[in-house]
Structures are given as C-alpha cells and as structure tokens.
Amino acid sequence: MNKDLLIYLTITCIKIFIVFGVIQFMIISMIWFERKIMAHMQVRLGPMRVGPHGLLQPIADGIKLLFKEDIIPEKANKFLFVLAPVMTLVPALITFAVIPFGDKIKIFGYSIDLVITDINVGFLYIFAVSSLGVYGVVMAGWASNNKYSLLGGIRSSAQMISYELTLGLSLIGVVMLTGSLSLVDIVNAQAKIWNIILQPIGFFIYVTSAFAEVNRTPFDLPEAESELVAGYHTEYSSMKFAMFFMAEYANMITVSAIAVTFFLGGWQGPFLPPVVWFMLKLSGCLFFFIWVRSTYPRLRYDQLMHFGWKFLLPLSLFNILITGLVMVIKG
C-alpha cells in the first residue's frame, strides 16, 4: 500500500514538472508568436534583432524585467500590492491540473493517465479556481492607490464576473450530453463525434465568454490604453508586471485547453499520437486568439456589458433548454 502511494506520488511529481515546464515554455513562445504573427498581419517584421528572427526576444525581455527597479508606490497598500500578482498568477497556473492531454500510456508496466489528476468534480474545480483570478485584479487595482488602476480593476472584475456566468452556462450542454463532470470522461465521450457539432451554440458562447474572461481583444477594456493607461497594472514594474503578463498568457492557454477538451475532442484524433493532437488543437486555439486580436477593434464598455447580459445570457439559457428538449425527444 505504502509502496503504491510512493510510486503514484513519484509519477505525479514527474507529470507536474513536465506540465509546468511545458506551460512556462508555451508562455514564453506565445509572447514571441503573438508579436511575430501580429507584426506580419500588419505588414511589419516584428522583433528581429535578438537571435534569428527575434527568437530570443522573450528571454531578453525577461532578463530586462528582472533587473528593472521594483517600484512600490508610497501610498500603496504594500501587502496587497505584493500579494496581487501572486493571487493572479497562481490560479492561472494550477487550473491545468485536471485537463487530460493524452490517453493512458504504459511505461515499465505501469499504466499512466496523461492528466495530472482525474477528479470527479474536475469541471467545478476549473471554475472554482479560475474565478479566483478576479481577486488578484481587484486587489491590484485597489492597492495601487491610483485612479486608473482602480477604474481598471473595477471594470475588469465587473466584466469577468459577468462573462463567468455565460462561461459556466455554455458548458452545461456538454455536461448534459456526457453525464459527468470529470474531464477524462468528457474527452472519452467524444470518441465518435466532437461536441462542437452537437453544441455549436455552446461553443460560440464559450469562445466569446473566454475572450472576455481572459481580458483579450475585443474585450480588453481593463487595459484600454487610450483611456486607462494600463488598467489595474499601471503601477506595477519589474517582475510583478511580468507576473500579470504570465498570468494572462497562462489563462489563455487554460481556456484554450478547456475549449479543446470540451468541444474539440481533447486528445482524440487519427494517425498522430494523442499528445501531438492535443498540442496541435491547443496551438490552433491560441493562434485564433492572436488572429482575433489583430482583426477586431475594442468594444465600448456599455456594449460589452449589454452583449454579455442581454444577448449571451438568454442565449445560453436557451441553449440548455434546446439541448434538454432534443435529448428528451431522442430518448
């Protein structure tokens, strides 16, 4: 019994370190890809100086930020000011714990699930943890003692909680079809047909809400440079600023991974190994984020709130009723 537990923990730790490393690597490469893709979409070259085609640019940026002066404004609430980036980054990094990124594999006779942990309330875990991120944003806005930060923080929290509703509602259709909150079950249930075909409205609502939830264009109101400077992280510098950035990218990776898991069949796919399929789909979703950013202008705040409350919310309730109706008729 004890030996089993030890093996389990060892395997788990290895999985955690691999996943953690991969996420860090993806964050760094995402920064490069975003700058590069957006540059090419705007007929520019983007970073070119550091390394071939600017490949080492994110690392140079990281080192630069590390050596920058770490300013804590005099009137700021110091404790909350330091706590806020931690509160934002940690939930962003631990949401990935329940997302399956591959099928079972066998190594040395041990069967290993390619998911850090498969808990039966995985779905609830994701929502519980990802909604903690909003605390970091509010704290950052309030603790900075800066008007722009406060406005950015409040706007951001109102936006995040509004779209969190539709985010949660959009996935209920998938849960109804699967009958389980475990993400491994949800992926396994999509062996024949992906949920995006059965739940097109749900997918649309999810994608829209996900953009708002991670504060990306066209819903990047909290960071509207033209009116709020940099929003809730106006006063942050050095690595604390970098942490907000990392959290944003980690959140983007997580919501993309959830989209892949719930709607795009997870790691399922022909010919290629499951992990490769998962990474391909994830990269596709991340590219979509960048694509949208360079395509759409920013919405106005009242438009944003109206869209969430007056259109997406009734639509997601309607989606649940339609899903239920079809399931009852089909038996």
Partner: protein
C-alpha cells in the same frame, strides 16, 4: 482523497514559482527611489485627491446580480450530470426552474438594472 494530492503539490510549486519571482526582482532590481517616482502615475501631473473615491453604483449592482445568477448556475450542474437518468421529469423541472429565473431576469432588465448609459 488521494487524487487531490497532486493539486496540492501543483499549488505549492506554483506558489513557490510566484514568490520566487517577487524575491528575485527584489534582489536583482536596482533600488533608487525618489519622491516623484513613488507618487501614483497621473499623466505627469501631481495626483489630485485620493484614488479611493466613490465609483458608480452600477458595479455593485452587477456584482449582486452576479451572485444570484451564479448560485442558479451551480444548481444546474448536478441537474446536468443526472439529466440522462431524469429524462422528461428532469426536463420539466428545469423548464420551471429556468422559467422562474428568466422572469427575474426580465424584471431586472425592465427595471433598468442592466443599462449602462
């Protein structure tokens, strides 16, 4: 409960990573504070008044509506899991539930709770 252990490990690693970042920048960053540098940023002019002023009541309203609706959403999760075995009974129950929710939603809308002008 053993399946929750990995989450704890991941949490500790993530927390360690975040705290290390904060400490590293405190060690390596230059520290030359001046009085101007430590004032809140306000487009280059001296800050006017306190930043912790009153702000629009709309935001409180949205937060309150959110709490109500979020609880409704939480009620929907167990129902969605059990839906395949509940069948028509579950569906009718949920139509009534969402119906009541929808009437409240319309009430909020009509009273102007969702307006931002």
């Amino acid at each position: 409960m053993v399946e929750y252990l990995p989450i704890l490990i991941l949490f500790i690693i993530a927390l360690g990573f975040a705290v290390t970042n904060v400490i590293l920048s405190a060690i390596f960053g230059t520290q030359k504070p001046t009085a101007e540098k430590l004032t809140p940023y306000e487009c280059g002019i001296d800050p006017v008044g306190s930043a912790h002023e009153r702000f629009s009541v709309k935001f409180y309203l949205i937060a309150m509506i959110f709490v109500i609706f979020d609880i409704e959403v939480v009620f929907l999760y167990p129902w969605a899991v059990a839906f395949q075995s509940l069948k028509l009974f579950g569906f009718i129950e949920m139509v009534i539930f969402i119906g009541i929710l929808f009437i409240c939603y319309l009430y909020i809308w009509k009273r102007g709770g969702l307006e931002w002008e």
